[in-house]
């Protein structure tokens, strides 16, 4: 990269402001809130406003700091560990997110591949068409499926009219509906990175494989798929990580028996008003996701610098 500004040993005041303002904003509104979540997850619930014991009394000086260290309580984490409700919803969230990601790959790959093989003029238009729903109101698109999947909704009307089913099946309040919702709303996220790698694929490699007598499917398996691995990884992470913590989709389309972890945090917070427990579940979720998030960041940064 040609950079006119790197050679300078000292940065101008303007440059320091350009970095400093967004940096400070993210520190205050993204990093510090996490530390507060961590802190509150180690405090005890209390019948007060806000509903937890204050941990650190800065006004008390040194005594406040020692009080803080002795007052730390891991009670919320032992609670999470001992109550199967939390563990089950964590396992269920990972299971649903992982299976949805596989479905998304299976559905998204042919679409991305197909678009990458069309004439270049219409590729951008097709990608805009795929990305457009992502920007149009997430809540509304889930609500649209509530309409469609209703017991006497259009899907069941169609299925009975075509005599595919005799009695209308129940879709809502079940995992199938959650899978449909996740696949539907995350599909653009999967297609975009896949398309980005497939579009750069050197087609002469496939011609070479064909000239050497390789069948098309085998060439796909041996050449195209391995070369698109970065796109597969990026798409999988982009879908898997937010899907684990998804709230709206399981809440509106899923059943109430086995909530996903996002719903558990929501209920602890809004329903039970147990803020420390909600914070502890949030910390557990971040710990679970920290590895995939770091891999994702690494990938995104490398992709940004490669261009």
């Amino acid at each position: 990269m040609t950079d006119t500004m790197t050679g300078q040993p000292k940065r101008s005041r303007a440059q320091r402001l350009v970095v400093g303002i967004p940096y400070a904003w993210l520190l205050v509104f993204f990093l510090v809130p996490f530390l507060i979540v961590l802190k509150i997850s180690l405090s005890q619930p209390a019948v007060a406003q806000p509903p937890y014991t204050p941990l650190i009394e800065l006004s008390a000086g040194w005594r406040g700091v020692t009080g803080f260290l002795t007052g730390l309580s891991f009670g919320n984490y032992t609670l999470i560990g001992s109550d199967p409700l939390y563990l089950l919803s964590l396992v269920k969230s990972v299971e649903i997110a992982a299976f949805s990601t596989l479905l998304l790959l299976a559905i998204g790959y042919p679409i991305a591949y197909g678009i990458a093989r069309t004439p270049r003029r219409i590729q951008t238009a097709l990608m805009t068409l795929v990305m457009l729903p992502f920007w149009t109101a997430f809540l509304i698109r889930i609500y649209a499926w509530m309409n469609i999947l209703q017991r006497d909704g259009p899907l069941n009307q169609l299925l009975t009219a075509l005599h595919i089913v005799n009695a209308p099946p129940i879709w809502l309040a079940a995992d199938t509906a959650v899978y449909i919702g996740i696949v539907y709303s995350y599909l653009p996220f999967m297609v975009l990175p896949l398309y980005a790698t497939l579009e750069k694929l050197d087609e002469s490699l496939l011609e070479a494989a064909a000239n050497l007598g390789c069948r098309r499917w085998k060439a796909f398996w041996l050449v195209t798929l391995p070369l698109s691995a970065p796109g597969v990884l990026a798409g999988a992470l982009l879908c898997f990580i937010p899907a684990v913590g998804e709230f709206v989709i399981p809440d509106l389309l899923g059943g109430s028996q086995a909530p996903m972890i996002g719903q558990t945090i929501w209920t602890e917070f809004f329903g039970n008003k147990d803020w420390p427990a909600a914070a502890a579940v949030a910390v557990a979720l971040v710990c679970l996701l920290v590895t995939p998030i770091i891999v994702f960041q690494h990938q995104a940064m490398r992709a940004a610098e490669r261009d």
Binding site: T4, V19, Y23, F30, G114, L126, A137, R141, I265
Partner: protein
């Protein structure tokens, strides 16, 4: 010219149909005269007419639009600065932390972002309401803005800036008179997308809102939790139309931006 195989064509057509049919169904049902989904009562605009008399809903819509205006503007300024720092300043101290804080919110589950934001506001005993939602949305949207503007800056023809500086323009002046006008369409597109993100958000707003700041998604969510309502079909159709128009305008602007000042590519 490349030929599109039947398999590829089918994949694209089925994919696009899957993405658009549910929205089309929603819009069609919003014109259903019958209250029941199972019954088609003919075309009617009665649900749209009923919306006009729903004062709390209109209030919520106005709040959402005001939040989105503030959040989109603030996040565009912050996100553009962040993009310039990421792309143009090479390696600076703390760059890794900075870049991590830009990329992490893109995938962070909203429940966590919302909860952590709220606990911050409680810790500093800020009154929750309009401004806390706007700040939370700004933080979330600025990362999307940064990624969009950074992608445009990476594509930028550096020769234009170097020419300006060779002719004696100082760096800030070069940025303001050469770079900024050329990337302006991308910035405008990022603003619109930030606006759409804010208008659309339910989870973060639910955590950070307070009395008197019930945004439109919060209102819609509390209505539809218990089942489908025809009035909501109408609200949602209006939102789909509005956001859809904004996004189409944004993507046209991005295209315009890419055409302006892009480096001349060898054929």
């Amino acid at each position: 010219m490349r030929k599109v195989s039947a398999f590829n064509l089918a994949a694209i057509l089925i994919g696009v149909a899957f993405l658009y049919l549910p929205i089309a169904v929603l819009v069609i049902y919003s014109f259903n005269a019958s209250r029941l989904v199972a019954v088609w009562g003919g075309w009617s605009t009665r649900w749209y007419a009923e919306l006009a008399g729903d004062a709390p809903l209109i209030d919520s819509a106005l709040i959402s639009i005001r939040v989105a205006l503030v959040a989109a503007t603030a996040s565009t300024i912050l996100g553009t600065l962040a993009a310039v720092a990421l792309v143009r300043f090479g390696r600076f101290r703390g760059r890794l932390v900075f870049a991590s804080m830009i990329y992490a919110p893109l995938v962070m589950p909203e429940v966590i972002t919302g909860l952590s934001m709220l606990l911050l506001f409680v810790a500093v005993s800020a009154d929750r309401g309009f401004w806390t939602v706007a700040i939370a949305h700004t933080t979330m949207a600025m990362c999307f803005v940064a990624v969009i503007v950074a992608a445009r800056l990476v594509d930028f023809d550096m020769n234009l800036e170097e020419a300006a500086m060779d002719l004696g323009a100082p760096p800030l002046r070069t940025f303001l008179t050469v770079t900024l006008p050329l990337i302006l369409p991308a910035i405008a597109a990022a603003w619109m997308l930030a606006f759409a993100l804010s208008l659309d958000d339910l989870v973060i707003a639910s955590f950070t809102t307070g009395p008197g700041a019930t945004t439109l998604p919060i209102r819609i969510y509390s209505e539809v939790r218990l089942g489908v309502k025809p009035e909501m079909n109408a609200v949602c159709s209006i939102m789909v139309g509005g956001v859809g128009l904004a996004v189409i305008a944004a993507s046209l602007l991005t295209k315009l931006s890419a055409a302006r000042g892009a480096p001349a590519r060898s054929p």
